[in-house]
Amino acid sequence: MISASDLRLTFGKGTPLENPALRGMSLTVNQGEFVTVIGSNGAGKSTFLNALAGEVLVDSGEIIVDNTDVTKLPTHKRANRVARVFQDPLAGTCEGLSIEENLALAIKRGQRRGLTTAVKKQYMEKFRESLSSLKLGLENRLGDKMGLLSGGQRQAVSLLMASLTPSSILLLDEHTAALDPKTAAFVLELTQKIIEEQKLTALMVTHSMKQALEVGSRTVMLHQGQVVFDIAGQEREGLEVKDLLGLFEKQRGLSVDDDSLLLG
């Protein structure tokens, strides 16, 4: 279980560019939940995910992951609990390292690293097996440099890397946004499959309201650094994009004129 309560974070405090990105953001995600997150540009979605991962430290509030207060921990000390896939397909892997080296880095996520060989023989079967589940033929290219792979292939491998070891939460920040529609659909499908098979707890940011409703078990909308609505279960079933917009207007008492919300 992961629980964020009353997170506040202001960028550029005390400068003319002061920008309150999180303004009392609270969200609890239960074990096994797959939450989709929507919101307009600048709503604070990425900042929230970065705060959960430790890439930014919040000014106030509390982040609890599996009964441990991680609010003040830097990224690398949370990595044993938090897995993530970035929007940029180049960001989640090292292009200069081989596929097997990237996987070997990931299989040790959040654990001590010693002086034994990183790419161990006993990992190979697991690497091959998980790569072959992608059906991209990568299981025969373990020694190839990551940089030789296409964006979609790299994103698929990033996803594998994030799920190679158990985590308390998997953070996905628009991880299909940089891909062409066909590849995006493939990676999304893969995401669903992995999350379902491994019963992962996940938080996925998307710009597509349609996708947000179709995927996962719960949908949260952020606006100005806060949750404006949070729907799950029966309430969410059969809901359409226009209902979401209505919901947003009702909650906020204002109209949505941001085109980015309507994408997809």
Binding site: E55, T75, R84, F86, G92, C94, R113
Partner: protein, 300 residues
Amino acid sequence: MLSEIAFYGAVETGLIYGLVAFGIYISFRVLDFPDLTVDGSFPLGAAVAAILIINGWNPWIATGAAVLAGMAAGAVTAILNVKLNILNLLASILTMIALYSVNLRVMGRPNVALLTEDTVLTPWYDLGLAYHQVPVVLFILVVIVAFILLWRFMKSETGLAMRATGANARMARAQGIATGGMIILGVALSNGLVGLAGALFAQSQGAADVTMGVGVIVIGLASLIGGEAVITPSSVVRALLACVFGAIIYRLAIAFALNADVLGLQAQDLNLITAVLVTLAIVLPGVRTSVMGKLSRKKA
């Protein structure tokens, strides 16, 4: 043509610069950390080894102490960068400048002669080799050992974490790697190798001198870049081979150039030539993309 003695001399210095190039490979290539500490840690290694040797220490222990001193210098640079957020290049310049004073303090004077002392080379002169071959044989062994250790390290879990730190720090952090710690370890390791090079250089030249570090970084870089042009560094082994061969080729080339009277070059022109060569290597368009990516391109 080169005389045999000049040839062995060039190879001997080339081997020492091979160690320097290993160090520069770790900082510039693995960590993407432009580190100029080298110009101070090279004479530091020489100074520490020399002063301990004239005080009667075993030369190998003195050399080990030089490695530790180099590592400490590197750690200072990295800590200035990681903990105090000083720009990496500037942090290394600060340490380099500070080391000039430290080196004078260590030696108590601008230079220390070792000609009459026992050094790591002394026992090897009894093996029946020609005088000028001895350092080459010993340094080849040292370079081989350093090569193997470094190669194994880069393939280890920690070494892989270090490579990830330099290649993609955000990804490394997300994998639970303490990137700050990796930078400190790597830059320390790098300068430890340079300290070793300085210690061996002092012992083979028979003296340590505060000014002997001037331009070491540029010569080391020239070796690295030259080596990479000959041996594409597509794997760790190839990158390390490039360091050694680059350094030896570079030294031989310099020896030939100085030897050829027609060119009218003198030893004091060395740094200028090196700087020009490194500049050319960085700006030549063909070389830029393949070899020099990391030095000419701004970080994304």
